[in-house]
């Protein structure tokens, strides 16, 4: 009876990627930090480099994939082992404000493409895509359909799109998804032998005076980064990561930029419009990408009715925060459900570990 | 926590079980139709109570006597006995008010199959002594009587502004004898009863909590030591 069973559910978010995206990327790192080099033969043309060497370079250069925080060389090794056919370059900033993958892709496209070729040579893949976000209506720069012969696929406009790449492209396993920034660092490592000492970070939010994409040296704290871009107002919450799934920071002094930090956002909003009761409008049900029933789940979990919890598949929750975003009562739906699903997953792991 | 008072309270609650504690009608949901349909005036309520008393007495008696025979037959015997009781009660009721049968109608014979009789005469008599089963049944009947009288009084007041036939004040609220009004009235009564019971227990528990003066005194004593 469900009217559009195949169509992906989600919400259309207002993308505040401008002006950060159209500004050029600035370097910003400690003056004291000197470039570190790897002691491996680098600078050779790609054709003469063996796949193993590429993976070795990736390891020595300590490159981390900014998508999931895993070491690039491990991903490459596994991909090569599984003999994957396709490499998908993820430039998909599906969360608002964040453009720390799309920006580098457009600005440093030659490096990114070299990295891509290296990765393909390392893994022995033939096909490759670059995936960008479709819903870029308010972006000034136009994203080309082909970048140096590599097709640029556009993934559908509804948030969340990050976890839906494979479904959107109609790809089947095995394929590997690599972040743009890690590819850029890979190409740098292969050319100059540079160790990854920085990462691309979007600094934005309604408190930031001039939002930009920075290439920030690792290990700097958020205060420096925010002051670099200037604070127009003192924010009520500072977030590392996207506005939908990011973590809000307690102490900006002690929070440091890590390779997986993709954005630093500073917001100021009024908290008065809160503390409603669920009016059962059903919006959350119609936007949940996993087709869960957040309303019912929240009602059960907040009433402590776990004993009579019907099979609502809370473990399928991907913690995208869509339900909380859309909720007109401003309820903490996604937080409650994801906590519960975490406990479920833990229980499952325990069962697996001790079958006794 | 003074256990003596606690025990007294619980004995009291146990005695009045079925009247306040688990009121048969309000909380147990037994014998609802009679209260809702026919308790539209205090006289009807009285008549209901009388016939309920008779049917319960006869029914429980039959249940106690025929404790040995299989259960499904005991239902028959109990209800037949209750029917006898109702037939007898008819003689008493007609002294109350001759035209009361018009208002009660066929609900009077139906008293024989009310669920109070079924529950208390068939189930409760199975494993308990005759005395206790009679006691619980009577308490339950008292609860029924109380509820019926309250509902009857309220509805009579709203309906005609009279109480036991004599004028109190003149308002007429014709919808007072509709079914939904009866249900909603019972619902609110039940809520009130539950709240009262909870209040009793709560007071009993709170009564032994140390007051702030006690705490201060204890502190001083500790300091002195």
């Amino acid at each position: 009876m469900d009217m559009q069973p195949q169509e992906r559910r989600g919400v259309y978010l207002q993308q505040y990627k401008e002006p950060a995206l159209s500004r050029e990327i600035r370097q910003f790192s400690n003056a004291s930090a000197a470039d570190a080099f790897i002691d491996l033969p680098v600078g050779r043309p790609l054709e003469e480099t063996a796949p193993e060497d590429i993976i070795e370079v990736a390891r020595e250069a300590k490159i981390v994939d900014e998508r999931d925080g895993r070491r690039l060389y491990k991903k490459l090794l596994r991909a090569a082992f599984k003999e994957i056919k396709t490499v998908v370059v993820d430039a998909l900033d599906d969360e608002p404000y964040v453009s720390s993958q799309l920006g580098p892709l457009l600005a440093l496209r030659t490096e990114a493409l070299e990295g891509l070729r290296a990765a393909m040579r390392a893994t022995g893949a033939e096909k490759n895509y670059i995936v960008v976000y479709k819903n870029l209506s308010d972006v000034d720069v136009r994203v080309p359909t082909v970048i140096e012969g590599v097709p640029v696929e556009r993934v559908g406009g509804k948030y969340p799109a990050e976890s839906q790449i494979g479904r959107e492209l109609g790809l089947h396993k095995p394929y590997v998804t690599l972040g743009v920034c890690s590819l850029i660092f890979l190409s740098r490592a292969l050319k100059k032998g540079l160790v990854q000492q920085s990462t691309f970070v979007t600094v934005a939010g309604n408190c930031v005076a001039n939002p930009t994409n920075l290439e920030v040296g690792l290990g700097m704290n958020l205060n420096q980064v925010l002051e670099r871009c200037g604070l127009a107002d003192n924010p009520t919450r500072v977030i590392i990561g996207g506005p939908m799934t990011g973590i809000s920071v307690i102490d900006t002094e002690k929070t440091l930029i890590s390779p997986t930090t993709r954005a630093v956002l500073a917001f100021k909003e009024d908290e008065r419009d809160r503390h409603y009761h669920c009016i059962g409008c059903g919006k959350c049900i119609n936007v949940c990408p996993q087709r869960l029933d957040p309303m019912l789940l929240y009602r059960f979990l907040s009433n402590r009715r776990l004993s009579q919890l019907p099979p609502l598949h809370a473990e399928k929750c991907v913690n995208c925060g869509t339900c909380s975003y859309i909720c007109p009562s401003k309820l903490p739906l996604s937080t409650t459900i994801s906590r519960y699903s975490e406990t479920l997953r833990k229980e499952d792991e325990d069962h697996e570990t001790d079958p006794a | 926590m003074k256990l003596a008072r606690n025990r007294r309270l619980h004995r009291f609650l146990g005695k009045t079980e079925g009247i306040f504690g688990h009121n048969a009608v309000l909380i147990g949901g037994l014998a609802l139709p009679f209260v809702i349909m026919t308790a539209v005036s205090l006289k009807n309520a009285a008549a209901l109570t009388i016939s309920m008393l008779f049917s319960v007495l006869f029914g429980v008696g039959a249940g106690v006597l025929t404790r040995k025979i299989p259960v499904w037959l005991r239902y028959v015997t109990v209800t037949v006995a209750a029917m006898m009781g109702v037939t007898l009660s008819r003689l008493v009721v007609q002294h109350l008010n001759p035209e009361i049968f018009d208002s009660i109608g066929f609900y009077l014979p139906m008293m024989a199959v009310n669920s109070i009789v079924l529950v208390y005469a068939v189930e409760r008599t199975r494993f308990s002594t005759p005395g206790r089963s009679f006691g619980s049944a009577l308490a339950c009947t008292a609860g029924f009587a109380l509820t019926a009288c309250v509902v009857g009084a309220v509805r009579e007041l709203l309906l005609t502004g009279t109480l036991w036939g004599n004028k109190v004040f003149n308002i007429t609220f014709p919808a007072a004898n509709t079914v939904f009004f009866g249900f909603i009235l019972l619902g609110f009564l039940g809520a009130a009863v539950q709240e009262v019971r909870r209040g009793i227990t709560l007071i009993n528990l709170r009564a032994d909590n140390p007051t702030t003066e006690d705490l201060l005194r204890q502190q001083e004593e500790r300091l002195v030591d």
Binding site: M244, G246, Y276 | A191
Partner: protein, 330 residues
């Protein structure tokens, strides 16, 4: 700097309960404007009275239950604005007050207050008023009749088009008048055009899902077309049925209350259809000329079953065509 940790997501949609209820109130005010033009200032008094009573009752119930009262929660005001619109302008103030109190104290709060109420409070209150004082509820004043603010004993009242249809007679009112709402009826049954405009606004604001009222109206029209009650042409029957009484108004404002209606798309469609059929059944066989409130209440009782049914069907369809949709994070 030191900050308080907050839960993701850190941006929220601009809609909130306040804006949704605000939309409802905004769309209800034009009806009062029309009512003032038709029946004079008494309508305004009714509005203020019922709104105040509902709000106060809500406040008192919240305090009795020991909940903190949310001032931004406008739902009680919506209830209070809905109730007089379903009554004639000559209704006595006592009836309005009692209906409001019933709506909040019996229908809304015992079930758990805002968001938890199984039945629509406004529909419950009006149904209660109809059940208790039908003769007052269905005696409508003439349009542009001067109604005193106080006692309304002297005002000549007539029966509405809906009553004529109920009696199986041919409504004498001109169709154009009916279209413009220039016939005696409840305050809210002003003009079908106004109601539909409000519906479009609400749907545009995503406060009301459009599918539900549309299905409702479609089903009602179909019923009217198939089984005309008076010996007028089928199309005329449809026109008169839809435009008489508060059918469309109830379908838009009572039935599509988010709290009591189902949540899923298909469920909403089914719900609307069933409600439409039910309304006509109530109008034909029911004891009163106005069936919307009763139909809405009955539908509210089973709305969750629709959701369950639709969910079950969707799950089965999902199981049948199970495609490998898991994304590969190798």
């Amino acid at each position: 700097m030191k900050l308080i940790p907050r839960d993701a997501p850190h941006i929220r949609h601009s809609d909130s309960n306040k804006t949704m209820m605000g939309d409802m109130i905004l769309t209800l005010l034009p009806f009062y404007l029309i009512g003032v033009c038709f029946y004079g200032l008494r309508v305004v008094l009714l509005m203020l009275l019922s709104a105040a009573v509902c709000w106060l009752a809500d406040l008192v119930c919240c305090l009795v239950r020991g909940r903190r009262f949310n001032v931004r929660d406008l739902s009680s005001l919506v209830t209070g604005l809905l109730i007089p619109l379903l009554m004639p302008a000559t209704i006595s103030y006592g009836v309005v007050v009692l209906a409001c109190i019933f709506a909040i104290v019996v229908v809304k709060h015992p079930f758990g207050g805002i968001g938890e109420n199984l039945f629509n409070p406004a529909a419950g209150g009006v149904a209660f008023a109809i059940a208790c004082w039908p003769e007052k509820m269905f005696a409508y004043p003439n349009i542009f009749a001067t109604i005193p603010l106080g006692g309304v004993s002297g005002v000549a009242t007539v029966s509405s088009t809906a009553y004529t249809l109920k009696m199986g007679g041919v409504p004498g009112a001109d169709l154009g008048d009916v279209l413009l709402g220039l016939t005696p009826g409840p305050v809210g049954a002003a003009s079908i055009l106004v109601v539909l405009a409000c519906l479009l606004y609400l749907a545009y604001r995503r406060t009301v899902p459009l599918i539900q009222p549309v299905c409702f109206l479609a089903a009602a029209a179909l019923m009217a077309f198939l089984f005309p009650r008076a010996d007028i042409g089928r199309t005329y029957s449809v026109a008169y049925e839809l435009m008489s009484g508060s059918l469309v108004f109830g379908g838009v404002f009572l039935l599509s209350d988010p709290v009591t209606s189902p949540k899923r798309f298909g469920a909403r469609a089914l719900y609307g259809l069933t409600a439409g059929v039910l309304v006509m059944v109530f109008r034909r066989f029911g004891g009163f000329e106005q069936g919307v409130t009763f139909a809405v209440l009955l539908m509210n009782a089973v709305s969750e079953e629709y959701d369950r049914l639709v969910q079950y069907l969707a799950a089965r369809a999902e199981r049948e065509r199970r495609a490998p949709h898991e994304t590969c994070e190798e």
